[in-house]
């Protein structure tokens, strides 16, 4: 299922299911049975402080996740959004075009005791991603939270409603162009807030 490949201006790199991804299933093991270096699946990677971060293009996001599930990454422990509107110059590996939003996942393999981070770029003009709900049902609430806070829609999510804010709330609070409310500092004899 490839979603959002039209109109993004990005060339769709590869089609097909996850098995077509290079490096799929190439799980290398140390003599003690632990995973030494999880496969990068041929994707751009970065290694801040020894962690492994994968940067899949949006078109390959779902394929990557279903491959990772098959390779023993059973749990998505965290999924959150970041709005890089005010910080567009962040460091990204070569081949990744920065977009306004990023969805960041922390994927855990219990049997290999590994944690891999996945960062997907989501453009401002089309803030959508395919849902992981059927692969990782635990992302249900986290995707709803990311939708609630950033307005990133997860296509195929069965119940994409706001979760923390009231349903009739306007705007997406954690976006950088959503201002923080302020109460003016009260000095003596200054006019009050109302």
């Amino acid at each position: 299922m490839l979603i959002g490949s039209e109109g993004t201006g990005e060339k769709r790199r590869r089609e097909g299911d996850g098995a077509a991804l290079p490096g799929a299933g190439e799980v290398r093991r140390a003599p003690d049975g632990r995973l030494t270096g999880p496969p990068s699946y041929g994707l751009p990677t970065s290694h801040p402080r020894g962690e492994l971060v994968l940067h899949p293009p949006r078109e390959l996001y779902r394929d990557l996740m279903s491959t990772m599930l098959r390779d023993g990454f059973e749990m998505v422990s965290d999924l959150c959004g970041v709005d890089y509107l005010a910080h567009p110059t962040r460091a990204l590996p070569e081949g990744v075009r920065p977009e306004r939003f990023e969805v960041v996942l922390s994927v855990v393999s219990l049997r290999h005791r590994r944690r891999v981070r996945v960062r997907v770029q989501v453009p401002d003009h089309d803030p959508t991603l395919p849902t992981l709900f059927d692969l990782y049902p635990g992302t249900d609430a986290m995707e709803r939270e990311t939708y609630d806070m950033f307005g990133i829609r997860f296509e195929g999510h069965p119940d994409l409603t706001r979760i923390l804010m009231p349903e009739d709330w306007e705007g997406f609070p954690l976006r950088k162009d959503y201002s923080v409310g302020r109460v003016p500092v009260q000095f003596k004899e200054a006019p009050g807030p109302r």
């Binding site: 749990m75 460091a91 349903e167 009739d168």
Partner: protein, 463 residues
């Protein structure tokens, strides 16, 4: 259970809309949660219905749910949707659970959260790293020290500073004591929910001893702001060994008393055994962590599997259940307290001398005595507390094992003294997703026991 408002939906006339959108019925039209609530069976999409019925949707590729596969056996006339909370003594805060019942059997469940949302992640972007710990400590108010720990660890990872050994041991000591106080609180409220009111008093009594120690060390009973980026706020006071030893002496016999009060008690066992069961695969698929995951039989404890601080240097057991029912979740927590006491005893023996915070002048304010003598120290102190320190650009995810599960912090820095993005992965928020699975097919009277066994802290769920 008296405070539910019963909401019986009228049968819709004509062919039911399958749009999945919620359409208002008279009784709930005034609330602003509309589509977040549980809708009638005929107005719910197939995937959502399956989810609320406790199915874990990990379908093989190429297989989709048949939209017409709605259970028609259940007649709308015989079921009703009831609403528990958000103001209910057994929901541990402002949790609202909507349940569809057939008689007394729970057919499907949907937790509705957000009543305590205060935008703490947004607030975190407006506060400096020095102030940040004050903010995050209020999230999970029953284990504030773990919140501070995970925020401090994330900040330190970005800063790249080494924390002195004594500070790390102090952090471990405080966090394990906090695990004790949090589990004691859980024992108390769980007992209360099941009608064992004496447990409420016992649990609070013991917790108070731990909290008095916290007050002695940090100055506050809760929301300590004690663990900060760079170390801890103050060294342990004189005579702390005696206080901690007293706690270690006091807790195990009391745990034995709880054991006698609960474990062998037929009423308690009847109410918890086999209630709210969840299998290993389901728990993993739903990203459940902490005692819930371990009760299902998965030996996953971040202290052991991905050690942080010095947890790889102390001996303790990871407590694991077998059946994944409410009783196992109780037993796991009870025995985890014993393990915590074991860890605290080892920390007592091994506490080194040395600095309690890093001697990196960029991060640590000068000592109070120097401020009176040196103008530069005064300026330095002033700068750290007004402007804060700058943290190098980057992003990091740090996870610790809080009493409720994996507490994670995703921190993005743009090089300024304030976090560009602060995200807290609250274990209660994620664990609440398991409720539909646990409650499915059970009795409504067991719902209270099951909700209690998840141990949600709403401050952390809603943040």
């Amino acid at each position: 259970m008296t405070t539910y408002d019963v909401q019986q939906s009228p049968r819709p006339a004509g062919p039911p809309p399958r749009s999945g959108r919620w359409e208002s019925t008279a009784l709930v039209a005034e609330t602003s949660e509309g589509p977040q609530e549980m809708a009638e069976r005929l107005r719910t999409r197939a995937e959502e219905l399956h989810r609320q019925e406790g199915a874990v949707l990990r379908l093989p590729e190429g297989v989709a749910i048949d939209p017409s596969d709605i259970d028609v056996e259940v007649s709308e006339d015989e079921t009703m949707i009831i609403n528990m909370g958000p103001q209910h003594p057994s929901t541990h805060g402002v949790l609202r659970v909507m349940m569809e019942l057939d008689g007394e059997t729970v057919l499907r469940t949907k937790p509705v959260v957000g009543y305590l949302h205060t935008g703490m992640e947004k607030t975190g972007e407006e506060l400096t790293y020095v102030q940040g710990a004050t903010n995050v400590t209020r999230m999970d108010y029953l284990s504030p020290l773990h919140n501070e720990l995970v925020f401090s660890l994330a900040t330190e990872a970005l800063l790249g500073v080494e924390i002195p050994p004594r500070a790390t041991w102090i952090r471990m000591l405080m966090c394990e004591l906090n695990r004790l106080s949090s589990h004691l609180m859980w024992m108390a409220t769980n007992g209360m929910d099941l009608g064992a009111t004496s447990m409420m008093i016992y649990g609070f009594r013991e917790r108070e001893v731990v909290l008095s120690f916290f007050e002695k060390v940090t100055g506050l009973r809760m929301n300590h702001n004690y663990i900060r980026p760079g170390g801890v706020a103050a060294d342990l006071p004189d005579g702390w060994e005696d206080d901690v030893s007293a706690i270690c002496e006091m807790i195990p016999p009391r745990l034995h008393e709880y054991d006698e009060l609960f474990t062998g008690q037929p009423i308690f066992r009847e109410r918890t055994e086999g209630v709210g069961q969840m299998s290993q695969e389901t728990a993993i698929a739903l990203s459940a962590t902490g005692p819930i995951l371990r009760a299902s039989g998965v030996p996953w404890d971040l202290r052991r599997t991905m050690p942080y601080l010095y947890y790889d240097q102390v001996a303790f057991d990871v407590v694991v259940g077998t059946y994944g029912d409410t009783f196992d979740r109780y037993a796991v927590r009870l025995n985890e307290m014993r393990e915590s006491v074991k860890i605290i005893r080892q920390i007592l023996d091994r506490m080194p001398t040395g600095d309690y915070r890093v001697q990196d002048k960029k991060v640590t304010p000068p000592p109070r005595g120097r401020i009176d003598q040196s103008m530069e120290a005064l300026i330095h102190h002033f700068k750290i507390f007004t402007e804060g320190f700058r943290v190098p650009e980057g992003e990091v995810y740090v996870a610790v094992e809080s009493p409720r599960g994996e507490l994670g912090c995703y921190l993005v820095s743009d090089g300024s003294p304030k976090p560009y993005r602060l995200h807290i992965r609250g274990p209660s928020f994620v664990n609440l997703q398991s409720l539909p699975v646990m409650l499915k097919g059970g009795l409504v009277a067991d719902a209270v026991a099951v909700i209690s066994s998840v141990d949600p802290v709403m401050g952390e769920v809603d943040r």
